[in-house]
Amino acid sequence: MTSSIADPIISCDNVTISYGTFAAVRNVFLDIPKHKVTAFIGPSGCGKSTVLRCFNRMNDLIESFSMKGKVLFHDQDLYGPRVDPVEVRRRIGMVFQKPNPFPKTIYENIAFGARINGFKGDMDELVETSLRRAAVWDECKDKLQESGLSLSGGQQQRLCIARAIAVEPEVILMDEPCSALDPISTLKVEDTLHELKKNFTIVIVTHNMQQAVRVSDMTAFYNAVEVEGSDGKVGYLAEYNETKEIFNNPKVKDTKEYVTGRFG
């Protein structure tokens, strides 16, 4: 069911994630290709964000989190006993659902990450380049010393993208980056993504199927099933293929119903 991918940058090998005793998503096998945009789609509660947060060990912040299986990044197990999660996050950045600029100036928002990653170079140039790549430079070049919170929601989100790319990660994870934005800001962020995939590998979770079609090369469809003997649901990876295949020629019935809007 998965198309074979030559040199994957991240691969999941039978990943099952639980919160406490409750399994959120189970048995995921998945290869993320390099320098492509991979979209995770599916109904709510199917575990797509959970899998995404696994890629840079963001789930470590949740106390009840536990994981079985392996997540390989360049063939190295991200959850190996000697792995430093901080090191992982410097290689695999993240943009969140809600824009979360730091309560600092716009300039400092970008410089912060670079500085803690030991950036030695022209900080002004880095700030400008990052903001340009995130397509938000024009809107904030005159107010770099103002608080990041003074921007609009869409601008804040692009600032967060700029913040993520300023530390030059290999992979950028995006967890529904446009769900809190208006349609125009959404289109701007999507334009940014096209630009970014030249240099970065992007994994994006989205609720919006048109968005998946517009931005992604690969699409993974997650679904959830009732767990026998309880009223909870557990997510699983239903189908993974090139985006045009998923939307034009789905192999699985659930996928077809979901992408044609007849789901549920």
């Binding site: 990044f73 360049h74 063939d75 190295q76 991200l78 190996g80 000697r82 792995v83 430093d84 901080v86 090191e87 992982v88 290689r91 380049t129 790549r133 030059e168 290999e170 240099n199 970065f200």
Partner: protein, 303 residues
């Protein structure tokens, strides 16, 4: 546009215990743990010490006898101070609760943002910051020095008033905040069936907020019971039982446990010092009980 130079594939993902940031991180973890230990330690030491020194001094006679004259060791009791603390604190609560709850209702239900409300809120904040000994001086000048209470000077009632001034801001604040937690729909519902504001507030809103208010009031009373500074120039002290003929004991100077700790704790006589510890024990146990009660009340309201 710069091209991204990535480090060689996946090298150095491993935790490097000697990296400066990791050394710094571990040192800070240790420091934070040390700080918390230092913050909790005094509490443990004080409580254990009070329980040890005071617990040993607790006998039934503590509650039924009077303290000995300086230099003597019999009788060993402080019944007057126990009654005095109950009397002074109880009376203070009787004065402060109606005023404080009324003021809180005004701030939460009647006028939230007007200039008068701002003025009251500012007053509440200032009063909360007034040192407790100043409350004592104020009541001394107002009540004791002027003998305004039926010609009496130092009295339990004066002490109660000083404690009431101290409790007032706490009660106003908890009432205000407790009432803010009541959902707007509940108010609308009551007003919607044509209830007057009086009925809405007293029959619907206030009962819904009773447990956060009670929590704050319990804590306020517990705190007041341990206060000493406002009492030393108002309720003063007395080695005798309350004089019930004088305004039910309210118009005569009275002993309280907290003032007893101060007066006896600095005396050079062992029996007095022992009684100070006994009083400390009773106060601490009472305050622990009040805090547990308040927590229980808070949980009660949450469910």
């Amino acid at each position: 546009m710069t091209t991204t130079q990535h480090p060689p594939a996946a090298s150095g993902l491993n935790y490097n215990p000697y990296a400066p940031r990791n050394v710094w991180n571990r040192a800070m973890n240790l420091l934070a743990a040390l700080f918390s230990l230092m913050a909790v330690l005094p509490l443990v030491v004080v409580i254990l010490y009070v329980l040890y020194k005071g617990g040993g001094a607790i006998t039934p006679a503590i509650f039924t006898e009077l303290p000995p004259a300086p230099g003597l060791s019999e009788p060993m009791g402080m019944g007057n101070a126990v009654i005095g603390t109950a009397m002074v604190t109880g009376m203070a609560a009787l004065v402060a609760i109606p005023v404080g709850v009324g003021g809180g209702i005004y701030l939460a239900e009647v006028d939230k943002t007007g200039w008068f409300a701002q003025f009251i809120r500012f007053g509440v904040n200032v009063l909360a910051g007034v040192p407790s000994i100043i409350c004592g001086l104020f009541i001394y000048a107002l009540v004791v020095d002027t003998r305004i209470l039926w010609g009496e000077s130092f009295s339990a009632m004066a002490g109660s008033l000083a404690l009431a001034v101290l409790m007032l801001p706490t009660i106003v604040k908890t009432t205000d905040e407790g009432l803010k937690l009541v959902s707007q729909e509940l108010r609308m519902g009551a007003l919607g069936v044509g209830a007057s504001r009086f009925v809405t507030i007293t029959r619907v809103v206030l009962p819904a907020a009773v447990s956060p208010i009670a929590t704050g009031v319990v804590l306020g009373i517990a705190r007041a019971a341990g206060e000493t500074a406002p009492l030393i120039f108002t309720a003063l002290f007395s080695p005798f039982w309350p004089d019930w003929s004088s305004g039910l004991g309210l118009l005569a100077p009275t002993a309280t446990m907290s003032v007893q700790i101060y007066n006896f704790g600095i005396m050079p006589f062992a029996p007095q010092v022992q009684l100070a510890w006994a009083a400390a024990f009773i106060l601490v146990v009472m305050i622990l009980a009040a805090n547990l009660l308040a927590r229980w009340l808070a949980r009660f309201s949450a469910s």
